[in-house]
């Protein structure tokens, strides 16, 4: 199903000829010819127009009544008037009507100065109101959620927020209650609006009815400056716009980039800026003293200590990059290690990717664009929960399913937020992805070949995928933890004929925001910049072992927190405890708290650099506010380290660095900063892309898993898996507005297992696995769960699930004991 291409037609608007695609809404066609028609309810991002506000009425020759231009598709030869007396009368009328019940409390309204109602009232209204009766009153404002205030008096009932809730986020919580002029926006039973995307309604609201507590009464539009950057809190890499006052970020807004984010942000990206100014932020280089406390040191001191440590461990140094580490920083890290120290232990991400397989998967013909999801015949979500790992991708998939009839297949170990919208759902045990994917590929190849317990689910998934014209496979980095899963994935891609069609492909959801970019600039064992062949080296999961046994001595962590976010947190704790640790970090994270030296990092409002979106799009992160006093840009510090180690950097400023980074990278070569302007650029969309990926084996050559998944435990045992939670993240804990969202650890378990073990919803339990480590959790019994498995949140602040996983995810079974509350005896 390819996006339909529409013929161009010519219409006349106010005497001006405009050429636009047939069927485009008249409002948009007029806009493309510089004719502005005022609108309130129209917002194409929300789906079909609703025609509610009536602000956009225009005259179309041949039709006696005025028509809403937001919902009238253009036809060739249409003659339209937007400025006749009849139209003006209607516009005046609608503005006057809208103000009948509007309080006009602009002086105390946050929207003032950037309010479409103000602007349209001035531009298209009668300038005065004849209404002399009493306006409607509500208590104002009320708390719609802990983040959003709702002023019902200001609401003009444009339906935007409600449509967002129902048709974009599909949480269906916002409703219009009552009717007529008594209508108001609310939720069922006045419950708080609880949805990880709900901040978007603030931007959608054309008046000051929906405002956020984090920005209320902080600034007027003329006090602030807008500045663009890219959110680096997850791999969605949404384009953002900061509102800055006095060199401080006060607000984050979406900067629509249809290729990337469709104009939406998640609440983490929208409110996480609060962590920028956190009191706990590390803003100076820090040295851990004998007492175990960090104390500030000078940058010179830091530079010499870091250099000394690296020199002394030499090739026994490991580098682990993650988070929002930029391509430039990643590239410098690679040079520091490979050229400066002759080392080869460098990786990024949480799971061990194989350079050969990465090269194979980087074939441009195999990569999908985010846009391809919109009109795909089918989307397969494999081993990932987009809602929690790449939230904007979740919205994108919903859009395709809702508006364009995309068929959705989900195959994961734990339940996903998309299950409810999926046409077929398959579940496999943690660590058993490889077998499941192979079976699926086999079933697609020869119908009915599946047998065994998964046969039915596999057949249902295959039915959705087999005949589909283009398939987009959205898969999670976790699959790398099962080497055979990657070869199965390649096989699946072949069966689906993905390479042959322009609009199908794979998209990997990395665990780190710049996961793709970091690999492509050389933070990958066996591959340097541009995925070029490099001496083989250990990968992320081996670092852990080698740091423990001393074959690696020092590790440099760049915005990476393996103790918290990587499998085998317990192992990482020991590893970091046993090594010299240099952490580039903004906070004393669980990993940084084991570091000997901490180098303060910039965030995405302060950093200059590029990152690469999972679809291969290079995007520019820009400095909009100065970093805290004296904080050296990370690239600067790394370049200094490189120089100390005798690496010839050959650049002296950021633009120079960008050029050096791209010109040494076969994939990025020739991309200029101008190319990145605004929307970024996919390296695969540039000339000769196919030839840019170095050859180097499309089949993964990887070590066999240390223990064979599938063989773990007795028949009644429960295998442990982990899942990600959007809010189990440092940034949520460091942003006062988001803190209430930080999840408690919960153990997701199937109904039959819960029944068998006598567990009740919400019950406190102690979960243990492996060599005795245990975490506390609340029982969460879920329907769409596979029996025989249970899941803990990986990355939780308290009782992190990764403490129990061991090195190979899915390889361990757990023991569950009901926690006995103090002063009570357990009677089971």
């Amino acid at each position: 199903m390819v996006e339909p291409i529409r013929e161009l037609v010519t219409i006349t608007v106010d005497g001006r000829e405009i050429t636009a695609p047939e069927g485009q809404m008249l409002h948009d066609a007029a806009k493309s010819g510089d004719v502005e028609i005022p609108v309130f309810c129209y917002e194409p991002k929300l789906g079909e127009p609703v025609g509610a506000c009536r602000m956009c009425l225009v005259e179309i020759e041949g039709i006696p009544k005025l028509q809403t231009s937001c919902s009238t598709p253009i036809r060739d030869g249409m003659v339209v008037h937007t400025k006749t007396d009849q139209v003006k009368e209607a516009q005046n009328a609608v503005v006057e009507f809208l103000l009948v019940n509007h309080p006009l409390d602009c002086p105390v309204c946050d929207k003032g100065g950037e309010c479409p109602l103000q602007d349209i009232s001035m531009g298209w209204g009668p300038g005065k109101s004849r209404f002399t009766d009493v306006k409607r009153h509500f208590q104002k404002p009320i708390e719609l959620s802990p983040l959003i205030a709702l002023d019902r008096e200001r609401c003009i009932l444009c339906y935007r927020c409600v449509r967002f809730s129902q048709e974009v986020a599909e949480d269906e919580q916002l409703q219009l209650l009552e009717r007529g002029d008594r209508t108001f926006v609310g939720t069922f039973d006045d419950r708080p609006y609880d949805d990880p995307y709900h901040g978007n309604v603030i931007e959608l609201c054309p008046v000051g009815a929906l405002t956020t507590y984090t920005y209320r009464f902080r600034a007027r539009p003329w006090d602030i400056e807008d500045a663009g950057s890219v959110c680096t809190l997850c791999s969605s890499q949404c384009n953002v716009k900061f509102s800055i006052r006095d060199e401080e970020v006060l607000r984050v807004l979406a900067r629509d980039n249809e290729d990337v984010d469709d104009g939406w942000l998640c609440d983490k990206g929208r409110f996480g800026f609060q962590s920028f100014g956190s009191e706990d932020r590390i803003t100076q280089p820090m040295l851990r003293g004998g007492d175990g406390e960090l104390s500030p040191i000078s940058w010179d001191d830091a530079l010499s200590r870091v250099t000394k440590a690296l020199k002394s461990s030499g090739e026994k140094t490991a580098v682990l990059a993650g988070g929002g580490t930029s391509n430039e920083e990643g590239w410098l890290l690679g040079r520091v290690l490979r050229e400066g120290l002759a080392g080869n232990a460098i990786d990024s991400g949480a799971h061990p990717a194989d350079a050969g397989a990465v090269r194979g998967l980087s074939n441009p013909a195999l990569t999908a664009r985010m846009r391809d999801i919109d009109h795909a015949g089918a989307v397969l979500v494999l081993g990932a929960d987009p809602r929690n790992e790449m939230p904007i991708c979740d919205l994108r998939i919903r859009k395709g399913v809702r508006r364009n009839g995309v068929r959705l297949a989900v195959a994961t170990d734990s339940p996903t937020a998309l299950d409810r919208r999926a046409h077929a759902v398959g579940r496999y045990l943690p660590g058993a992805a490889a077998g499941f994917i192979s079976q699926l590929a086999g079933e697609i190849r020869s119908e009915g070949s599946s047998s065994g317990p998964d046969a039915e689910a596999v057949a249902a998934l295959a039915t959705e995928l087999r005949g589909a014209e283009d398939v987009v496979v959205v898969w999670g980095e976790e699959l790398w933890s099962e080497p055979r899963a990657i070869s199965a994935l390649m096989d699946l891609a072949t069966v689906l004929g993905i390479e042959g069609t322009e609009t199908s492909g794979l998209i990997e959801i990395p665990t780190e925001a710049n996961g793709r970019g970091l690999r492509e600039v050389g933070c990958l064992p066996g591959a340097s910049a541009g995925l070029a062949e490099a001496p083989a080296g250990p990968g992320v999961s081996e670092f852990c072992e080698k740091l423990r046994d001393g074959s690696l001595e020092t590790i440099l962590l760049a915005d990476s927190d393996p103790v918290r976010t990587h499998p085998d947190g317990e192992g990482w704790k020991q590893a970091l405890g046993n090594a010299f640790v240099i952490a580039i970090s903004s906070f004393e994270t669980p990993s940084a708290s084991l570091a000997n030296l901490v180098i303060p990092a910039e965030n995405f409002s302060e950093k200059e650099g590029t990152i690469t979106h999972p679809e291969g799009r290079l995007q520019r992160v820009r400095r909009n506010v100065p970093p805290p006093d004296g904080l050296l840009p990370t690239w600067n510090f790394l370049a200094a380290v490189a120089t100390e180690l005798g690496v010839d950097c050959g650049f002296s400023d950021q633009p120079g660095l960008f050029t050096a980074m791209t010109s040494s990278n076969g994939l990025y070569q020739g991309i200029t900063e101008e190319d990145l302007a605004g929307q970024g650029v996919r390296w695969q969309d540039r000339e000769g892309a196919a030839g840019r990926v170095p050859a180097g084996g499309a089949t993964p050559q990887m070590a066999a898993p240390t223990s064979a998944p599938g063989s773990a435990g007795a028949p009644d045992s429960i295998r442990l898996g982990t899942r990600r939670d959007l809010w189990a993240a440092e940034v949520a804990e460091r942003s006062p507005a988001l803190e209430f969202l930080v999840p408690m650890q919960s153990l997701e378990i199937s109904i039959p297992d819960a029944e068998r073990l006598g567990l009740k919803q919400g019950q406190a339990v102690e979960v243990s696995a492996g060599d005795g480590a245990s975490v506390e959790a609340k029982v969460a019994i879920r329907e769409a769960m596979i029996p025989g498995a249970a899941f803990l949140i990986c990355g939780a602040r308290d009782g992190n699930g990764n403490l129990l996983t061991g090195a190979v995810p899915g390889s361990r079974t757990i023991r569950i004991e009901v926690a006995t509350p103090v002063g009570q005896t357990e009677n089971t």
Partner: protein, 457 residues
């Protein structure tokens, strides 16, 4: 047997839909069949192809009886052919003030409607049918439920209609009491379990209606005509009524008349005949003043303007009003036009769904101004504003409800301006029209329209 048709000086009823209306037990399938019922259904399914049927309906020129008067056959022909779920919805939300014809048709002759629906389903290729009935019609919904069960039992509904292998399912769905759910697209949303708000058109329901599928929506009375057209043919049907308004019409007459009720007349008979001969003329001593020819949303016609017009779609339209749902509300000289306008405005304000701005705010504003006017708290400027606000609503709304207030209020002000001026200058209408019929004074009934109800005969 075609009904007897008598034309005398005095207007009489012409009963087709109401032919056996007072037969005891007509709501039972046995009685209905004894009187010849379900023969048309069998004929339509065994002797006619869907194409024949559609052609016959189009040829009959049957116009919708729910308000807009659109050709029933033509609307059915807009549904795409092809193998997909298609829907037929019977609009039984009957909530327009002054309209109570569907109530009697459903209560007394439910099988006529069911037979009509199964026939319409064949013509339109629909396999899933709904009767959306207003929630307050409890008795009628219960009656329909029983009748539907009987029709299933008898094989006129279900997987195999009359042994032809055709499937037609029918569900009676009760609304929750909103007038707006009679608007066809709001009806669909409500039926789907959503808030009953009108949808933007196009797409029209014939193309994208219930659950996104092609949907035919017709009024109870419209569909009740079908068994008769199939039985006796389009030509026979067109022998009643006028060229542009063929057939008969069940007219609900209410207000200040001696014998309010439902009367089935041939379209084109004089209005005077309906009001005087059938409904017994004025109920009190006062002379008649004006009437709404097609429910409360139609602009009033004064007695001078309207009494001698033929009662047809075209004549009412030519007179600047409309036949609408075919409900005549009669007002005598004791009626305060100001109170009447307020009463109309209050109804539409109360029922506005609130989706679009002009109707939501315009109805509210109009009520506030008319309230002040009737209390003597208005100025001449307010009257100007009232007129202008009606103009600002007209034609600018998403559905017709907004216009349904603006049109009658505008007509009342235009035709009886001195009464409005007087209310302003004399401090309200108190004392002017409190006597007699209960239309005036402060104690306005809040919800119930002062209607005569029940049938004649």
């Amino acid at each position: 047997m075609p009904p007897t048709k008598t034309k005398t000086e005095k207007t009489t009823e012409t009963r087709i839909l109401f032919r056996n209306i007072d037969e005891p037990g007509l709501s039972k399938i046995s009685t209905y069949k004894r009187l010849g019922g379900y023969k048309s259904l069998v004929k339509a399914y065994t002797e006619m192809t869907p194409e024949d049927l559609l052609a016959e309906l189009e040829a009959s020129d049957l116009r919708g009886r729910g308000g807009a008067g659109f050709s029933m056959g033509k609307k059915a022909s807009f549904l795409p052919r092809g193998d997909m779920d298609k829907y037929l919805c019977c609009n039984a939300d009957e909530s327009e003030p002054g309209t109570f014809k569907d109530r009697e048709l459903m209560q007394k002759n439910p099988h006529q409607l069911i037979e009509g629906m199964v026939i319409a389903a064949r013509a339109a290729g629909a396999n899933r049918c709904f009767i959306y009935i207003r929630g307050e019609y409890v008795l009628q919904a219960d009656t329909l439920d029983r009748a539907v069960a009987e029709a299933y039992e008898a094989g006129y509904l279900g997987e195999d209609v009359c042994g032809t292998g055709e499937q037609v399912e029918l569900v009676v769905h009760r609304g929750a009491g909103a007038y707006i759910c009679g608007e066809e697209t709001a009806l669909l949303d409500s039926l789907e379990g959503k808030r009953g708000n009108p949808r933007l058109k196009p797409p029209f329901p014939a193309v994208e209606g219930l659950y996104g599928g092609p949907t035919l929506i017709n009024n109870v009375e419209t569909l009740s005509n079908l068994p008769h057209i199939v039985a006796s043919g389009a030509e026979w049907f067109r022998s009643f009524g006028t060229e542009q308004s063929p057939g008969t019409k069940v007219v609900s007459v209410s207000g200040d008349v001696a014998k309010p009720g439902n009367y089935e007349i041939e379209l084109g008979v004089p209005v005077r005949g309906i009001i005087d001969d059938l409904a017994g003329g004025a109920s009190g001593k006062a002379k008649l003043k004006c009437f709404f020819p097609g429910g409360s949303s139609s602009p009033v016609l004064t007695v001078e303007e309207g009494m001698d017009l033929p009662y047809s779609f075209e004549a009412m339209a030519d007179a600047g009003s409309m036949l609408g749902s075919g409900s005549i509300i009669v007002c005598d000289e004791e009626t305060s036009v100001v109170e009447l306008a307020l009463r109309v405005a209050r109804f539409y304000h109360h029922e506005s769904c609130g989706k679009c701005t002009p109707c939501r705010e315009g109805t509210n504003w109009t009520v506030k101004m008319l309230e002040r006017l009737s209390h003597g708290e208005a100025t001449p400027i307010d009257l100007e504003t009232i007129v202008s606000v009606q103009g600002n609503i007209t034609g600018n709304c998403l559905c017709v409800l907004g216009d349904s207030m603006a049109a009658p209020v505008s007509a009342l002000v235009a035709k009886y301006r001195p009464e409005f001026d007087q209310a302003i200058s004399m401090g309200g209408v108190n004392g002017h029209a409190t006597a007699g019929n209960g239309h005036g004074g402060d104690a306005l009934p809040d919800v119930a329209w002062p209607l005569g109800a029940g049938s004649a005969g």
